[in-house]
């Protein structure tokens, strides 16, 4: 028996949407097997099937010679599978020892009553955390640990549960270089003990250092598996983005815009929390500027900083030729900035408002005084605006009196775009504008963006969807770890070189 885990021909449908199609994956004992793919390629879904969170639609899983058609979370744990998620799932209020033994606390009988055997538990836990090099007492509360230390506790917990397979989902995303080296040391130890490790990460240089083999997924399909010694960064990126995109770009040549007049100039911008560092760029009139990079690389964080939703430590912003200091979204609106945010539900629409109230909200604020608190409203006028944008950007609804929650994702997004158009925005930020939106509405949203740019409105688009950026933008800035890691004109941009700039 060569493999400790063998996932065969796994498919997974979510109400018709194919998240995984016929994916196979094998893990040998003592190897670090990298799972690679873009956001949404299906890595997490595959791992959730292995950990018993999801049931596969078809396919089978063999663990240590035992075949399953599906796993329950308990069967998964009992088979020796342990998953360390990116957002560590520890209970902050409990001690390290309690976290390690949560759900299976050792008991002892005192006066005939079973109680937790703290002494024994803390001793075992202490040995476990020493094994992974954590210099702490097992009685310490988890809330006092750093992220790197918490991760070590998670690994200790996996060892304590005699895990044969440990899945690590982007384990280094919030670690420093030194902490990463420490983690790699632990991983090498685990390999020596014969534990198989499935390692998910986007950081290519890291993968080349720690991995033994790599499997690549794209759009829910299996692309291939290679030995790490046979690959380079470039071959990995090609595998990730696929060979399908051979054209240089999807935009017709004659529709590429390069403007003269500068609408927005950002110089040396650094956020107080340093999520964005030393960013400089210019947005010209008539062009659509795209922002690419992995999630958390600083794209959205930059937009929020420009919009006044996150404090800036250094740098200057020039808007329409005037230096501005934007302290709040209210201020940004007054200056003519509109922001279609990343998450419609959380930071976008108001679920308690009708369509027309959602559309008029920011316009009312823009024309108000005393920090947004002063001014009267005129419902008739508001409804007129709403009707106007319902017609001009084709919001499909029975009536503007409908609650926005009743609309499809695409139409909700159009309402939010309508909100900023109604407010007369001269600079528009679109953050993941087509996330969860059907193809028809996507096309319409792209058209609106293009028309806005042609009308002289500044348009910036953040997107994880590379084909989207390639077909919409005139220029693409790529972020990596809070910094700009390249600016590509549309003529030179390809999925490969964007991915390369985003990951290395």
């Amino acid at each position: 028996m060569d493999y400790i885990v063998e996932m065969k021909n796994i498919s997974k449908d979510f109400s018709g949407v194919k998240a995984l199609q016929d994916v196979s994956f094998q893990l040998k004992p003592g190897e670090v097997h990298i799972l690679l793919g873009e956001n949404g390629a299906g890595k997490s879904t595959l791992m959730k099937i292995l950990s018993g969170v999801y049931e596969p639609s078809s396919g089978s899983i063999v663990i240590n010679g035992t075949a399953f058609s599906k796993l329950s979370p308990k069967e998964s744990v009992d088979s020796g599978i342990s998953v360390i998620y990116q957002e560590l799932s520890m209970i902050d209020e409990l001690s390290i020892a309690e976290n390690i033994f949560v759900g299976k606390l050792p008991m002892i009988k005192k006066f005939g009553i079973p109680v937790v055997d703290f002494k024994n538990m803390e001793e075992i836990a202490q040995r476990m955390i020493e094994k992974v090099g954590l210099k702490r007492s097992s009685k310490d509360l988890v809330e006092r640990l750093s992220i790197s230390e918490k991760q070590q506790v998670e690994i200790a917990k996996a060892i304590a549960s005699r895990a044969k397979v440990i899945v690590m989902d982007e384990p280094t995303s919030s670690l420093t270089g030194e902490e990463t080296n420490k983690l790699f040391g632990i991983i090498r130890q685990l390999k020596y003990l014969g534990v198989g490790i499935i390692y998910i990460s986007h950081k290519l240089h890291e993968l080349l250092e720690i991995g033994d083999r790599v499997s690549v997924l794209k759009d829910g399909k299996y692309v291939g598996t290679k030995d790490i010694k046979d690959v380079t960064k470039e071959t990995l990126v090609t595998m990730m983005v696929g060979r399908a995109v051979n054209e240089r770009h999807l935009k017709p040549e004659d529709s590429i815009h390069t403007g003269e007049e500068t609408l927005l100039k950002v110089e040396g911008l650094t956020r107080k929390d340093r999520m964005v560092q030393d960013v400089s760029f210019e947005l010209k009139k008539g062009e659509i500027l795209g922002f690419s990079g992995l999630i958390g690389s600083g794209r959205t964080e930059l937009m929020n900083a420009i919009y006044g939703a996150a404090p800036i430590a250094e740098g200057r912003i020039e808007l329409f030729g005037q230096e501005v200091i934007i302290k709040s979204p209210y201020h940004a609106i007054k200056l003519g900035i509109g922001h279609v945010t990343e998450s419609r539900k959380e930071t976008g629409f108001l679920k308690n408002f009708e369509i027309w109230k959602n559309i008029s909200l920011s316009r009312l604020l823009k024309t108000s005084s005393l920090g947004g608190t002063w001014g009267l409203i005129n419902e008739k006028q508001e409804k007129k605006w709403a009707e106007e944008y319902k017609a001009s950007i084709n919001i499909k609804c029975a009536s503007i009196e409908q609650n926005i929650g009743e609309l499809s994702g695409g139409n909700q997004q159009k309402v939010l775009i309508g909100k900023w158009l109604a407010a007369g925005s001269k600079l528009m930020i679109f953050d993941e504008p087509t996330k969860g939106i059907d193809i028809g509405a996507r096309g319409e949203i792209y058209k609106i963006m293009r028309e806005l740019a042609e009308d002289g409105v500044g348009v910036m688009v953040v997107s994880s969807d590379l084909p989207e950026l390639l077909s919409v933008c005139d220029r693409i800035i790529v972020f990596r770890e809070g910094r700009m890691n390249g600016t590509l004109s549309i003529e030179e941009a390809t999925e490969e070189n964007i991915m390369l700039a985003a990951t290395s």
């Binding site: 629409f349 920090g371 947004g372």
Partner: protein, 314 residues
């Protein structure tokens, strides 16, 4: 069908309950309950509750709460009374002692909520006690008598057949209807209650609006304190104890959503009247006060439960 019922319920449910209760009481006690004199009495007894509930409404609308309204009511009444006794003209005394101090105390709540980031429940639970303590200190725990007759007859008197406290509550209700329906401030407060993050990204200054909401609640409680003092003819250091329950009950029986973002001023007025009808009716039916408390408590739970059951899906 169900959808339709939901819509009708959310629009007219509270009003229906009020009518139903009035009819039931009218049938049970036609000779006492359904008289002009008694119904006027219901309005008069409800006016302080409604005033408190009207302020409370805004704090619940932003998914918060104000537990300190009863204490603000006592402190403002006490300060206004002290000012009058010290010789200040009563009109000036109620503007400074009632409205201004009420707004100031509400502002303290708003300031603390904004600065600490704690839930308003915690902050106002604290100030509930602090403001009560201040009232006891400045009054030495004794009632203040000897208020000018002009004050008592102007605020607690009658305008023809209508008690002036009722008129005051009506004016405040109309002013608040104006704020909620016709001003940007009102719209923003609804937005803030619906989803504070989305409101912030739409350009609403969360802290400033939170501050204003608590000032409004404080002013309404201050006005209630003046009315209460005038009706009693004296400022009682322990007046208004436990009134926060009544204020919250008026708001939520009136259909204000505890999750924020939904509710109407007219609903609060209805809610206050429902409480008034029940306590007046139970009095007439000679139900002991202790039992009335049980009815009130059950009613609060029932109102929110029905709202959950039939409320239009959010």
């Amino acid at each position: 069908m169900m959808q339709k019922f939901n819509v009708i319920w959310s629009k007219y449910g509270t009003f229906g309950i009020l009518i139903l209760l009035t009819l039931v009481m009218g049938i049970l006690s036609p000779q006492y309950f359904l008289t002009t004199g008694n119904l006027t009495q219901v309005l008069l007894q409800s006016s302080v509750n409604i005033l408190l509930g009207l302020g409370e409404f805004f704090t619940i609308l932003i998914a918060g709460i104000d537990l300190s309204v009863g204490s603000i009511m006592a402190l403002t009444g006490m300060i206004a009374a002290k000012l009058m006794v010290a010789g200040m003209h009563w009109v000036l005394a109620i503007i400074i002692g009632g409205i201004f101090v009420g707004g100031l105390l509400g502002g303290i709540n708003g300031f603390l909520v904004n600065k600490t980031g704690l839930h308003p429940f915690i902050i106002t639970l604290g100030t509930l006690s602090i403001f009560r303590g201040l009232t006891l200190i400045i009054s030495d725990a004794k009632p203040v008598f000897g208020l000018p007759q002009a004050f008592k007859s102007s605020i607690a008197g009658w305008l023809g057949p209508v008690p002036i406290p009722v008129i005051i509550a009506l004016i405040v209700a109309l002013a608040f209807i104006f704020i909620t329906n016709k001003t940007k401030l009102g719209r923003n407060i609804y937005a803030l209650g619906g989803n504070s993050q989305a409101a912030w990204f739409s350009g609403i200054n969360i802290k400033r609006h939170t501050m204003i909401v608590f000032v409004i609640s404080g002013v309404a409680a201050g006005i209630a304190g003046i009315v209460m003092t005038a009706r009693l003819g004296a400022a009682e250091p322990l007046s208004g104890s436990g009134y926060e329950t009544q204020a919250i009950a008026a708001a939520i029986i009136g259909g204000t959503s505890f999750f924020g973002g939904k509710g109407k001023i007219i609903g609060v007025v209805m809610g206050g009247l429902i409480i008034g009808v029940i306590s007046n009716g139970l009095n007439i039916l000679s139900v002991p006060t202790y039992y009335q408390q049980i009815v009130m408590g059950a009613l609060i739970i029932l109102a929110v439960f029905l709202d959950r059951l039939f409320g239009v899906k959010r």
